[in-house]
Amino acid sequence: MAEQTAPPQPAAGPAPAAGPRTGKPDSAVVRDALGVGIAVGLSGFAFGVTSAGAGLTLLQTCVLSLLVFTGASQFALVGAIAAGGNPFAAAAGAFFLGIRNAFYGLRLSQLLALPRWLRPLAAHWVIDETTAVALAQPTRRQVRIGFTVTGLTLYVLWNLTTLLGALGAEAIGDTDAWGLDAAGPAVFLALLAPMLRTATERAAAGLAVVLGLGLLPVLPAGVPVLVAALAAPAVLWLKGRSLGGDGGTPAAGPATERTKGQDR
């Protein structure tokens, strides 16, 4: 769900308006966190339906939401399985999508300053939405409130709606007739759209589409997506060459990265 990039905007929006420095009541943090948690949590329904439509059992679908708990990775895995992919290629694609969570954790670990024993538990909730809400808060106390309330609401709702979606899909039988096979790609597009800010990102996306579709008929299922991921290093390399190395960016890097986290 992290992946559900669009929803964090409400959280990022109200924060500056309330004026981080003038102080913001804890209730406002809870309200923002609940807004994101509920909006995104409900989209577990789309996952439950997609997963059941892809042929996974109710138990498999629910285990994915309980144990993986990072939406894009779950959708990717289910899509790869439906396409008949090798399990390891399918898992690798899902794993690559989850890597960005490591970078969220990196930033959150300083802000949350959690005791060592609590980190293995908190880690499971390190996703796009919890990061977006937590980073928008002015004080450590409110960072912790934002992270916890978003994480708890989203985790509970995401798993409940996954179950309901999977049960619903089983009940209606042919999910394709209801257009439910379009839910997966629509989710990916919604996650992707806010990321296409610069020419570099658009070039990477375009190249990935060409590789993903072009190689689909000739390579085993699941592998074309992994090859398409190479569009990212390829575009960075080409950009580095055309700029004569990527000097100059280190100073700008951290700042842009920080704002990026918030508006995602």
Partner: protein
């Protein structure tokens, strides 16, 4: 069985990267190139996955009702619709086109 292997591998892998972020010393992942690659990797993957799940069945490229659904989702995104509306539009349009025999 294969499905369970994929599920367990994904669960373990995704959890470990989350946990690693909380444990790894900041400088290890702070190199600009590593960060930019991490930001660009999801872009490439999501683009490829969107295209594949819209325009293919198994290993064959196809153009069917899903393309209309994706176009509806894109339109909803341009209109800044909420997440669930975007997904709902794609599903409804795909179902509608199929019902009309598309």
């Amino acid at each position: 069985m294969n499905v369970w292997i994929a599920i367990i591998a994904t669960a373990v892998g995704c959890y470990l990267v989350k946990y690693a972020g909380l444990l790894v010393p900041a400088h290890a992942l702070e190199r600009p190139l590593v960060r930019r690659l991490a930001a660009l990797l999801p872009v490439a993957l999501l683009a490829a996955l969107t295209a594949q799940q819209t325009f293919s069945t198994g290993q064959t490229l196809v153009l069917d009702a899903r393309a209309a659904g994706l176009a509806a989702a894109a339109l909803a995104l341009l209109l800044r619709a909420p997440f669930l509306v975007v997904v709902g539009a794609a599903v409804a349009v795909t179902a509608g086109v199929r019902a009309l025999g598309g």
